[in-house]
Symmetry: C2
C-alpha cells in the first residue's frame, strides 16, 4: 500500500537506510494518524540557497506533501562558540544577532520550497545550552574514539598527524543528539553527511528511541558538469536569481546532466523520468528540447508558471531569432582609458563575470564566441567601443557598456 | 637560600618538573608572604591508607612544615557519575552519601600525617557541576586526540582495538582542570599519575596561569619486595594497624628495601640517609639493627614514641627471648573434625592469613618454620591440637587456637 510513496521517496536518493524501517514508520504514522518528523540540520552561516541545496529540501517537501512534518534545526550552538582553538577557517564565531539574521535569510529562501505550515524551526542551543557536564559524559560515553576516527576527514587528519582537538569529537555527537532531542523519524542529508546522520541513528538507539531512517541524497554537479555546485566555484544556479538567468544557466549545462537534474531538481514522476531516460539513450529526442523542458520546469518551481513561460519565450527569441534580452547587465568602462590604450576584452569579460577565467575568455574569443553589436571580434585590444554597445559572449550572455 | 628546602623536597622524589620553576615559586611565596598551594587529588573510593599512600602525603607534609597549604581534591564528580558504559569495574557509581562517608574515612587517616590547619578539602563537583557545554567545548579544545592517545593505557588499548569511549578522554581533562580551578602551585602524585599531572600543568598554561610544578613520587614496593604495596596483594602495612603489627611487618621486609623505606616513609634528613646508605653498602652495620630503627621510626610516626618503644621491646622479647606477644590473633577450629580427621596445617596457615599461598606455607613447614607450643612440626596432618595451643609461623607470626 505504500509502494507509490516509497517509489517517490526513493527517487533520486543515493541510499535509504533502511527501506524496511521506512515502511514501518509510514505504516505506523498512518495507523496512529501521526505525522513523521523529518529532520534537516542546517549550519547557521547565511547561504544564498542554490539548486544544490534544493536536492535535500525538495525531498523533505515530498514528505510534507504526504502529510509529514519537517523540523529544521539551526546549529546555532556550536556556531556561537566558534572554534576555540582558532584553527578552523570554516568555524567562524557568530553572535546571537548573526544567527538570527542568518536564520531570517533561510526562512525567506526555504519557504520557496517547503510548506511553511508543516515546518518547525528549532535552534539547537535551546537544549544544548541546558546540558551539564554529567549529561555530556553520558553522551560521550556512547561512542568510541576508534569509531569516531572512522569518519573520513578525521581518519585522514589523524593519519597525517594533523592535530584533531578533542572538542571536534563533540560536534558529530551534538548533531546526532539533535535527533534524540526532537525524536526524529527520518533524517535527510547529502552523502557527505553520512557519518553525522548515522550518529543520530545510533544515539537514538542508545537513548532507547526508534532509530531514524537515514536518506542520503547525492551531491549535485554544478552547471560546468565538473565539480559539485557551489557558489565559490561559480557553477551554481541560485533560487533567487531572475527567471531568465535560471533558464539560461540550465540551458548551459552539459547534456549528460539532463537526466540527473530532472531527477534531483524537479518533481516529475519517476515513471516520466524513465521515459526521459529512454529518449536520451535512444536518441529519439533532441537534448536541447529536453533541456528547455527542464529549464522551464525549474523556473516554474521558483518563479511561477507565467515567468517560466516568459523565460522560455525570451530564450527562444535570443537563441533562435538572435534578439537581445529585455534586461541585461550593464558595465561601466572608463572612456579615457579606452581612447588612450584600448580595452583588454579578456579582462573585461572576466571582470564582468561572463567567463570564469582568462583562459575560458580567450577560448571563447578565439572560437568567435564574442560579439560586439552582433559582430564577431578576434582582437584582444579593443579601441572602438562606446557607451550603448552590446557585448555578447557565447549564446546567452550579454553585457551593455555604459 | 632555598638550597636546604630544595634538598628536603627532592628527597625521595622520582622527578621534579622543574626545579627552576620550584625555586621561583618558593622565592615568590617568601617575597609575597603567601603560602604555595599544594594539590593532591584523591579518588572518592574509601581506602585503608597504607604506607604506600603515605609517600605522597609525607611529601605534602614537608611543604606544610615550610608554611604552605595543602588542597586535597576529592574527585567526587566523576565518582558520582560512575561509568556510563558499565564496562569499568573500577569506576563504580557512588552516591552523595557514599562520597561523604568515604571522605570522612580519609579525614580520620590523613590527619595522622597532614597538618589539619594547613589543609583544605574540596569536592570537585563544586565547580564541575557548574560547567556548561560551552565550557566543556573550551576545555576539550585544549588537547588533541593524538596527545591523549600518548597516555600509556590509552595507547595500549587503542593498539589492541579495545574500545575507548570518548568520555574517558574527559577524565584526565577534568583532573587537570582541577589544578586550574584551585590555581595549584605544585601537584604531587605517584609516577603513575604523570600524564594527569602534566595535563594540569598544560591546562593552566592554556588558561593563562603559571604552570604548577609537578613532583612525581616513586611507587612503594610492598613488604614482599616484589610488587607495589597494595591491600589486595596482602603486602601492605596499614597506618591504622596496631604498633606491634606495624613493627613486625617492617621487620619482615627484605634488606634491600631498607634504604628506600627510610627514604620514602620517614622524615630522616637526606644527610642521615646518606650515612645509612654508606653503612649498608660497606657492611658496617647489621641490617637487622637498621631495620629495627626503621620499624621504630615508622611506628613512632603513626602511634607515637611511647608505643614505638613498647613495640621495640615486644619485638626484642619475642625475637631474642623467644617469648610470645601479649596480644595475638585467635583462630577457632572445630574440635570434632580435628579428632576425626586431624587438621591440615597448610590450610590452616593460609586460611588464617599467616602465609600468602599453600606453597609458601609448605616451604615454611619443611624448613622447620612452624611450631606448635614452641615445638617444630613437620607433618601436614595434625591431630593433637587443642584450644589454647600457640602456633608460631616464622619468627614473628603467632596464632592462638580457641
Amino acid at each position: 500500500m505504500f509502494e507509490e510513496q516509497l517509489k517517490l521517496i526513493c527517487k533520486g536518493a543515493d541510499e535509504v537506510l533502511s527501506i524496511e524501517e521506512l515502511k514501518e514508520k509510514l505504516k505506523k504514522s498512518k495507523k496512529e494518524n501521526k505525522p513523521l518528523i523529518i529532520k534537516l540540520g542546517l549550519d547557521p552561516t547565511a547561504p544564498d540557497i542554490h539548486l544544490g541545496h534544493t536536492v535535500v529540501l525538495r525531498k523533505i517537501k515530498q514528505f510534507q506533501d504526504m502529510g509529514h512534518t519537517a523540523i529544521i534545526i539551526i546549529g546555532d550552538f556550536t556556531g556561537m562558540i566558534g572554534d576555540p582553538t582558532g584553527n578552523s577557517k570554516t568555524r567562524k564565531q557568530l553572535s546571537k544577532e548573526d544567527v538570527i539574521e542568518n536564520a531570517k535569510t533561510y526562512y525567506d529562501q526555504i519557504y520557496k520550497i517547503l510548506d511553511k505550515d508543516k515546518t518547525k524551526i528549532f535552534f539547537n542551543s535551546k537544549w544544548l545550552s541546558e546540558m551539564n557536564f554529567e549529561d555530556i559524559i553520558n553522551l560521550t560515553s556512547k561512542y568510541t574514539v576508534a569509531r569516531m576516527l572512522e569518519r573520513d576527514d578525521f581518519k585522514k587528519r589523524f593519519q597525517k598527524h594533523d592535530g584533531i582537538s578533542i572538542n571536534e569529537f563533540l560536534y558529530p555527537l551534538i548533531q546526532g543528539y539533535d535527533s534524540v532531542e526532537i525524536k526524529a523519524d527520518i533524517e535527510i542529508g547529502g552523502t557527505e553527511q553520512r557519518f553525522n546522520i548515522l550518529m543520530g541513528r545510533n544515539l537514538q538507539k542508545d537513548y532507547k528511541q526508534d532509530r531514524q531512517v537515514a536518506i542520503f541524497m547525492p551531491i549535485l554537479e554544478g552547471t560546468d558538469g565538473k565539480e559539485k555546485m557551489s557558489k565559490s566555484l561559480g557553477n551554481y544556479i541560485g533560487i533567487n536569481e531572475n527567471p531568465n538567468n535560471i533558464y539560461g544557466k540550465v540551458m548551459s549545462i552539459p547534456d549528460r546532466l539532463i537526466l540527473n537534474y530532472f531527477n534531483l531538481l524537479t518533481d516529475i514522476h519517476p515513471d516520466e523520468l524513465e521515459s526521459i531516460k529512454f529518449n536520451l539513450e535512444s536518441n529519439t529526442i533532441n537534448p536541447k528540447n529536453l533541456k528547455m523542458k527542464l529549464a522551464k520546469e525549474i523556473v516554474k518551481l521558483y518563479c511561477g508558471e507565467i515567468l517560466a513561460i516568459k523565460a522560455e519565450e525570451e530564450f527562444e527569441n535570443i537563441f533562435k531569432n538572435n534578439k537581445i534580452p529585455e534586461i541585461i547587465p550593464e558595465f561601466k568602462v572608463d572612456k579615457e582609458i579606452i581612447e588612450k590604450d584600448g580595452i583588454d576584452i579578456i579582462k573585461l569579460i572576466v571582470t564582468a563575470k561572463l567567463a570564469n577565467s582568462n583562459s575560458e575568455a580567450r577560448r571563447l574569443l578565439n572560437q568567435g564566441g564574442v560579439k560586439i553589436n552582433n559582430k564577431k571580434i578576434f582582437d584582444i585590444k579593443i579601441r572602438d567601443i562606446k557607451s550603448g554597445d552590446i557585448i555578447k559572449i557565447g549564446k546567452l550572455k550579454f553585457l551593455k557598456i555604459i
